[in-house]
């Protein structure tokens, strides 16, 4: 465990140093986050123009969902995209060989080898938006945060959301072992998950089913947001943790299977 922790510190230390070789990226990412957030808020305002509630969600509740989405998007930029996009290039160029020959779990290496600071503005914006929305909604908006247990539940559900999101990305990236060029699929996933910007109940019934049982968008933002607002149900919470565990186990199994199929790039 100590070796993994030291490796992670080295991984992230070196990748931050490498990223900071290109500081212009920071400015571009900052502007991009602000633009995205402004666009989402504008759409949300339009949706609320018809009345004070959207699918049973108040304005501040919907902002919490948007804040969680922005937070997850930042996590994607910080960790998922830089690491998992590399799986595809590792397979294409044959450098996956070096990863597989290290005496460390290859899934850990591929998932945590690098970190990009350019998602941090989105993480900060997401956290800020959640805090502001909870404050704006008054005491009942922050009803979920009255006791330690009630604070831990949203945190656990947020971790479950991160695990689900990670597993979806990893599974798609791991498919490159067989199909090599799968990067477009992860882009499609990213744009599909944009649906998580708004509460799932705001969508028509068919899409609600799709976003709950096929693409678990509901578990990414809506379920943790409900827990934050003190309206979470035990059934959804258990379901969320179960889906996260299944997704993680699925990604693990798929990777083990993928390694058996790996033929390595030709020299």
């Amino acid at each position: 465990m100590k070796r993994y922790w030291r490796s992670l510190r080295c991984f992230w230390g070196t990748s931050l140093a490498a990223e900071l070789e290109y500081p212009l990226n920071a400015a571009i990412e900052f502007v991009s986050v602000l633009g995205n957030l402004a666009g989402s808020l504008f759409v949300l305002q339009l949706l609320f123009a018809g009345g004070p509630s959207l699918g049973g969600w108040s304005w501040s509740g919907a902002l919490v969902v948007l804040g969680l989405y922005t937070l997850l998007d930042g996590f994607t930029t910080c960790v998922l995209q830089p690491n998992l996009s590399r799986i595809v290039s590792h397979v294409q160029t044959g450098t996956l060989d070096y990863v597989l020959l290290k005496p460390i779990d290859s899934q850990f290496w591929l998932s945590a080898r690098t970190v990009s600071p350019w998602g941090l503005p989105a993480v900060a914006a997401g956290l800020g938006l959640i805090g502001w929305a909870l404050a704006q909604g008054g005491p009942e908006a922050a009803a979920g945060l009255r006791s330690l247990g009630a604070v831990l539940l949203p945190l656990a559900l947020l971790l479950a959301a991160l695990a689900i999101l990670y597993s979806l990305w990893f599974v798609l990236a791991a498919l490159s072992i067989w199909f090599v060029k799968v990067w477009n699929a992860t882009e499609v996933l990213r744009y599909t998950l944009v649906a998580g910007r708004y509460p799932v109940s705001a969508y028509p019934p068919a899409l609600r089913l799709l976003f709950t049982f096929v693409l678990p968008v509901a578990f990414l933002t809506t379920v943790p947001a409900e827990a934050l607002l003190g309206r979470g149900s035990a059934l959804w919470a258990i379901g969320s943790l179960l889906v996260a565990a299944l997704c993680l186990a699925g990604s693990r199994l798929l990777w083990r299977f993928a390694q058996r199929s790996y033929t390595s790039a030709s020299s």
Binding site: S7, C10, G13, A17, A18, D97, K102, S267
Partner: protein, 336 residues
């Protein structure tokens, strides 16, 4: 460890590859109905390698060298046969096995492009669980052997190809592996850089007793480093022994070059062997090994010889000739 460090018995690998006709129609047909074909890349080869040996692995492109190397490192699963490396079954890729081996590929790098090599070395030290003080000591030792100094502190992208390869070797050897798999480690390097890498590998082998299995496009690497070669062709082992034995096997004649003080007719040399060339005072003959001493003695007695040289034909020409005979166009170990 007693006995061979590498033991391969009846090792084989079959790839299933999909076949596609050229053009758009072929692509559409391929999408709708895939056709596959089995290709036997390695066909039941057997060999053993003792600890501390340096063995050259030769063969034309597509002969099965890299596939064998990848089975030995555990990257791909053999289709048949038995394989043991350093007391382990490679494909299980247990951490204890991975700590004992290393793979260097001349055409692929593991170091981080934008950062100094030292940063990548710190990552490797952490992954292999080497304490920082010990890692620094090892880096200093290897850097001295590789004649690397301030280069380790410059971003990798600013180093020459030769310096990058030396840094790659350093990264690959930091954990002190006992078995080195080197796939074209001098690829693209100039003659001086090639020589330095060769010297380093020979020195490393002497100092540590590590076993080395080397494939190279440059015959100079093989002749300088490998007392033993494995020659693989169409997935089968064609030769396992010394380069001298291989030369004898491929060239039953030796080349005799004469410089004469007077002019002689070409027919005068016909009874000594095959006349390769005769120009003025210079004559080049191919003489069967078995009659070499006797015929050279007669040549010296019969003609006024100013200079005489007996040599083997260049090994790359012999190997190249062998594969050309067998219908191969491109030969590893041929003239670069």
């Amino acid at each position: 460890m007693a006995g061979p460090i590498i033991r391969a018995s009846g090792l084989s690998k079959t790839y299933r590859i999909s076949e596609k006709q050229p053009g758009l129609a072929g692509t559409i047909q391929h999408l709708l109905r895939r056709r596959h074909r089995d290709v036997l890349a390695v066909d039941g080869i057997s060999f053993t390698i003792e600890p501390g040996e340096i063995v050259g692995f030769l063969g034309p492109n597509g002969a099965g060298k890299t596939t064998t190397l990848k089975m030995l490192t555990g990257l791909i699963h053999p289709s048949g046969g038995e394989l043991e490396v350093a007391g382990h079954e490679p494909f299980r890729r247990q951490a204890r096995f991975l700590r004992q081996i290393t793979l260097v590929m001349g055409n692929r790098q593991q170091l981080i492009w934008d950062l100094p090599a030292l940063d990548s070395l710190r990552v490797n030290a952490a992954v292999y669980g080497i304490e920082e003080a010990e890692a620094r000591r090892r880096i200093a030792e290897l850097a001295e052997m590789l004649e690397l100094g301030p280069e380790l502190q410059r971003p990798l992208r600013k180093l020459s190809l030769g310096q990058r390869m030396k840094a790659e070797l350093l990264a690959a050897l930091l954990h002190r592996p006992s078995v080195l798999f080197l796939d074209e480690p001098t690829l693209g390097l100039d003659v001086n850089a090639q020589a330095r890498v060769r010297d380093f590998l020979a020195d490393y082998n002497r100092r540590t007793g590590a076993t080395v299995l080397l494939t190279s496009h440059y015959m100079g690497d093989i002749t300088a480093l490998c007392p033993r070669v494995l020659l693989i062709h169409q997935g089968q082992l064609f030769h396992d022994g010394s380069l001298a034995d291989l030369t004898q096997r491929l060239a039953p004649c030796r080349q005799v070059r004469l410089e004469l003080s007077d002019l002689q007719p070409t027919e005068a040399f016909a009874c000594f062997g095959v006349i390769e060339a005769h120009q003025g005072h210079q004559v080049r003959l191919l003489v069967p090994r078995a009659q070499l001493t006797e015929r050279v003695a007669v040549l010296l007695e019969r003609f006024a010889v100013v200079d005489l040289e007996v040599s083997d034909p260049p090994i790359e020409e012999l190997i190249g000739g062998l594969f050309r005979q067998r219908g191969e166009a491109s030969v590893t170990g041929g003239v670069p």
